[in-house]
Each structure stands twice: as C-alpha cells, then as structure tokens.
C-alpha cells in the first residue's frame, strides 16, 4: 500500500471516531438524558432517605430492645424479690407459728406391778387424751412469746386436779379433767441495745415435759432443762447470756418460786404459812465441735427452803379425830437439795441414722434437822392412831426424821435408730436405760408417763417403735418399759420421806396415736 493510501485509511478512521464522539455528546446533552439522570438521582436520593429511615428504625429498635431488656431485667428482679419475700413469709409463718400449733396424744397403757417381797401382783390399763395447744409469736426481733394450754385426762374421767392431788409443779402433767390449764406462758426479751447478747425470760417458764423426751415422743424439744435435773411446771424469771465461743454457746441464770400451799391470803403473811420454796439454777449450754457438734448442758440446781408438805392436812386430821394435841409447830423449812447434771445428745451422730444421748446427775440433800414439834416435843407418829400413822411417813426431807442428809445419782442413756425408708415413712426404733441410786432425787414431777421412770430408785429399760403415718403430723408409738425397783420412790419425785428397801418389778406396755400440727 502506498503512503497516500495509508494516510487515507488513518484519516478515515479518525473521521469515524470524531462522528462517534459527536454523536455521543449530542445524545448526552439531549432532554431524554436529563430526565434519565434526574430519575437516577431521585432513586439515589430515595435510597439515601430509606437508608436514613432504616437507620432511624434500627436506632429505635435498638432503643426498644434496650428498653425491653431493662424491663425483663426489672421483671426478673421483681420476680426474685417476690420469691425472696415468699421464702421469707414461709419462714415467718413456720417460725412464728402464726396462730397456733397442736399436739394431741391418745394413748393406751397396760400396767402391771409385782411386789416380790409380798408376792402381791396387780395390773390395770388406761386410755388417756393429752392435748397441748400452743400459741406463739415473734412480733419483733427483740420479743417472742410462747404459751401452752394443756388438757390431760383419762377417757371419761371427771377428776379435778384437786381430786388427784396435783401440785402446782404438775398441775397440767397429771391426768385430771377436761379443763385446760396453762402449762407454759412466757416472754423472751432480747434487747437490741445490748446487742441481743442478753435475754430476759419471765412468766410460767418452759421447765416441764423434758428435753430428752423429744426422742421417744418424737416431738420438738419442750424445755432446755436437763431431764435428770428438773421436770416440773414453775413460775419464775431467767437471764440468758449468749456466748461467742467454739464450745460454750449460752449461759442461764434462773430463779423460780413455789408459794406455801396453805397460804390462803395471796398478798398477806398467813398465820400458819411456811417458807416459800426457792429454785436457783445456773446452766451452761454448748456443743462439742470435736464430737460431731454434740450438744451438751451442765446445770446446777438448788431447791431451797423446802417446807414440810401436807401440814394443812395434818391440822385438819387433828381437828377431825379430836386428837389430844394442844400445839403443833411445823418447821419453816426442812433443808435444801442440790443437783449437778450433765447431759449430751446428738441427732444423726456423724451423719449416721442414729440419735444418741447420755446424762448423769448427782443429787444431795442437806437437812436442817428441824422437826415438827407437838405439845412441846418432837413429833412421834406413835402418838397417832395406827390408821393415821402412815400419813406422816412423808413429813420430812428424804428421811424419816429430818436428821440425815443423803447423796444419790442417776444415769440415763439412750439411742434411736432412724430407718431411712420413704416407703415406710422413716420409722424409728429406740432403746433407753436409766438407773437411780437409793437416795436419788429425780424431781421428774410433771413427767406424763405413768411410772415417771426417771424418779425410779432401781433400773429402767425401755424399747419403743415410732411409725409415722404422715411425717411430722401423725404417728403411732408403741413401747415397753421394764422397771426394777430396789427402793421406794417416796413422795414428790423422791423429795419427801425415807427410801426403804423394795423389790418390785413393774411393766408398762403402751400404744399411742400422736397428732402434731
């Protein structure tokens, strides 16, 4: 190809390019293109707007989610608060026993007595109803109140407490009539201004029904007094000091009084009035951390100014039989009794299904040597008709003449096996042993078991079985006691009269239905 042809071709190609560029420029600057651009621009703007809207919606959603999360958190917190309150209320209702609680026991007893010295044998049986209605409350952290109203009677019996010679110590602990007696009624005051480290108790105190009886009756503990020390109703006042030590947990100082039973003028010295009996107790309570936190208590008890008993009856007897007695003077007091008692117990010892307890007590009488003076001379029962001489047997403190003081001891131990079977409702099988010496003074005056076994001067064995029907509400108890008496018990749980040699075997079979609520 020639040079000229090549130039023509290049020029032709450039012309094509020029026309194509001009044609494109014309097309871009046409009205259609403007419209298209605007349309696209609008679309872009709209999209931007939608993006902004979406952004705002996303922000709103975030805010709503945050708000809802806060509401959920608040709801959770409220539910937790309500649940905590429910838990608290459940505890309060259970703790305060708002209103009352009830213990009802219907029992059958089959008793037999065999005197090996005289070969006398006797037997009897009895049905009893015992009802305890409890009212308690804890209106503040500083104050709590407990009261127990009690009825204890033989089925169908209409004896009054006077008929059965109940003393104030056992006014509701001895079967009598269908009347309700106040067994306990006391207030505990634990002031905050003393850091709640001291407690004042006053009223009719919880000193009856026993502590270790919780095992064989399978009901809550009724008193903090050791069983071998004192089991009787009493009116008094007590101070408790709470201790923060690994072993000692609290310390009690208690004072109670028993007025002269012949005092017909409550607020005036009676002409024939005798001394009031004073009770002093000091008790340490704690736990033994090295022995599976076994609970223990150690108590010193003094029963002071013990007055003669039945002096009013003797005066009535003298008048009734017109005995040749011109003057009779009873001593104001016969002496005192001291008791030292140590008791320990453990539920589920070492997490085994076994509950155990053991207690030992020492008792000592200290007579004043004062005697009843009749016609200016020490009283001699021989001056009475033979039929009346027996009534004077229990005139003095653990002796026939108030001249000798004596020491005695008691040992009480037991174990209870818990069958861990839900199918059988967790029944229990227990065994107890007690021994008391010749001059043992039990002071188990208000015990509700027919033989009041802890007053025995001899040996006592008991085996029992507890079958719950509805756990902690309804149960059946059955058991068998064997009592081998070596000495007579004398009057008022060993307090009055001499301990004379005996050889008696007593047995007791019992079956009861107990309701607790």
């Amino acid at each position: 190809m020639s040079f000229v042809n090549r130039c023509n071709c290049v020029l032709f190609f450039l012309c094509l390019l020029f026309f194509a560029a001009v044609s494109g420029a014309e097309e871009a600057s046409s009205p259609y293109a403007d419209s298209r651009n605007k349309q696209l621009q609008n679309q872009v703007d709209e999209l931007n707007t939608q993006i902004e809207i979406r952004k705002m919606e996303a922000e709103a959603l975030k805010s709503a989610i945050k708000e809802q999360q806060e509401q959920i958190d608040g709801l959770k917190s409220n539910i937790a608060s309500v649940y905590k309150q429910t838990i608290s209320d459940a505890g309060l209702i259970e703790k305060y026993k708002l209103g009352n609680s009830v213990y009802l026991q219907s029992a059958y007893y089959d008793l037999s007595r065999e005197n090996n010295l005289t070969d006398d044998k006797s037997s009897d049986n009895a049905f009893t109803n015992q009802l305890d209605i409890k009212i308690s409350g804890q209106p503040s952290d500083e104050i709590q109140f407990h009261a127990t109203m009690s009825m204890y009677k033989l089925w169908g019996a209409w004896n009054t407490p006077g008929d059965v010679m109940s003393s104030d110590f056992s006014y509701s602990g001895k079967p009598s009539d269908a009347g309700v007696k106040i067994k306990k009624g006391y207030v505990d005051y634990r002031p905050e201004w003393l850091g709640q480290a001291v407690n004042l108790s006053f009223g009719r105190l919880p000193t009856s029904d026993g502590y270790l009886t919780t095992y064989r009756y399978n009901r809550p503990v009724q008193t903090s007094y050791p069983d071998l020390s004192f089991n009787a109703e009493s009116d008094g006042i007590g101070l408790t000091f709470y201790l923060e030590t690994p072993i000692a947990k609290s310390f009690n100082l208690i004072y109670a009084r028993s007025e002269d039973d012949t005092d017909s003028s409550p607020f005036q010295k009676d002409a024939q009035g005798l001394e009031d009996i004073d009770f002093y107790a000091a008790q340490a309570n704690g736990e033994l951390p090295f022995l599976d936190t076994t609970l223990f208590s150690f108590q010193w008890l003094r029963v002071d100014n013990i007055r003669p008993t039945g002096d009013d009856l003797i005066r009535d007897m003298i008048a009734f039989y017109q005995l040749p007695i011109t003057s009779i003077v009873f001593p104001d007091q016969l002496g005192c009794v001291d008791k030292l008692t140590f008791q320990m117990d453990n539920d589920r010892l070492f997490d085994l299904p076994v509950d155990v307890f053991a207690s030992v007590s020492w008792s000592s009488t200290n007579t004043s040597k004062d005697q009843v003076i009749v016609n200016g001379q020490p009283f001699n029962p021989a001056m009475l008709p033979p039929a009346l001489q027996g009534y004077t047997r229990y005139l003095y403190l653990l002796s026939p003449d108030n001249q000798e003081s004596h020491e005695g001891y008691g040992v009480y131990a037991g174990m209870r096996y818990n069958f861990e079977s839900d199918a059988l409702r967790n029944p229990k099988l227990g065994f107890e042993y007690f021994t008391g010496s010749k001059y043992w003074v039990g002071l188990s005056i208000a015990a509700t078991d027919p033989y009041q076994k802890l007053n025995t001067r001899g040996d006592v064995f008991e085996i029992y079985y507890i079958q719950p029907f509805v756990e902690k509400m309804l149960q059946m108890r059955t058991g068998y006691q064997v009592i081998q008496r070596d000495y007579t018990e004398s009057l008022m749980a060993g307090l009055y009269g001499p301990a004379t040699t005996a050889d008696e075997d007593d047995t007791l079979f019992y079956l009861s239905l107990d309701f607790l609520f």
Binding site: E94, S201, S224, N252, D292, L352, V356
Partner: protein
C-alpha cells in the same frame, strides 16, 4: 446383775464404740458440705443451715426456687438430695422451746 441389765450395758457400749470409731469418716463427710457447690458462689459466713426453716430449704432446693435467683449447676447426680438432706437436718425453727431459746 440381770440379763436385761447386761444387754443394756452391751448396747450402750456398742453405741460408744460406734461413736468413736466413725469419727474420722464423719469429719470427712462434714468437710464435703463445707466445700460443696454452695460455696462456689457463697462465702462460708454468708449463711448457716439454721438460718432457714425446713420449709424454706425445701422451697429453695427441692423445688428449684433458688434457680430464680441463680441457677445451681449440680456437680454430680445425687448432690442435690445430699445437700438438701444436710440443710433440712440442720434447719432452724423446729418448734423447740427452752429458756432463752430463739430460732
């Protein structure tokens, strides 16, 4: 000494043997609770079993009420029953009475 008295003494003796011979094992069992799942979150002085009644412990543990506050992740089967059993046995407010006794 009568045979029944001998039997009683044997029972008491065996109880004492049981009491002392199982001491070490029992201590181990106690340590189990003190190092149990409860104390993954709680401090040892946060609570005592006697702070709550049996019914409260049953609501919290047996009926999973605690999960409302915080879910408990049990470490092994049977631990829940074990812990509940311990708490119930040592629960407060049993209805016991006595001079200066509070729950």
């Amino acid at each position: 000494m009568t045979s029944i008295k001998k039997a009683a003494h044997i029972v008491i003796f065996l109880t004492l043997v049981l009491l002392f011979s199982t001491g070490a094992w029992a201590e181990n069992k106690k340590i189990d609770f003190e190092h149990s799942v409860c104390f993954r979150c709680h401090q040892t002085d946060d609570f005592k079993p006697s702070d709550k009644t049996e019914q409260q412990w049953r609501m919290l543990i047996e009926k999973n009420g605690h999960d409302i506050l915080k879910k408990i992740v049990w470490e092994f089967p049977g631990q829940k029953e074990q812990i509940l059993d311990y708490l119930v046995k040592h629960a407060g407010g049993s209805g016991a009475e006595g001079i200066g006794v509070w729950h």
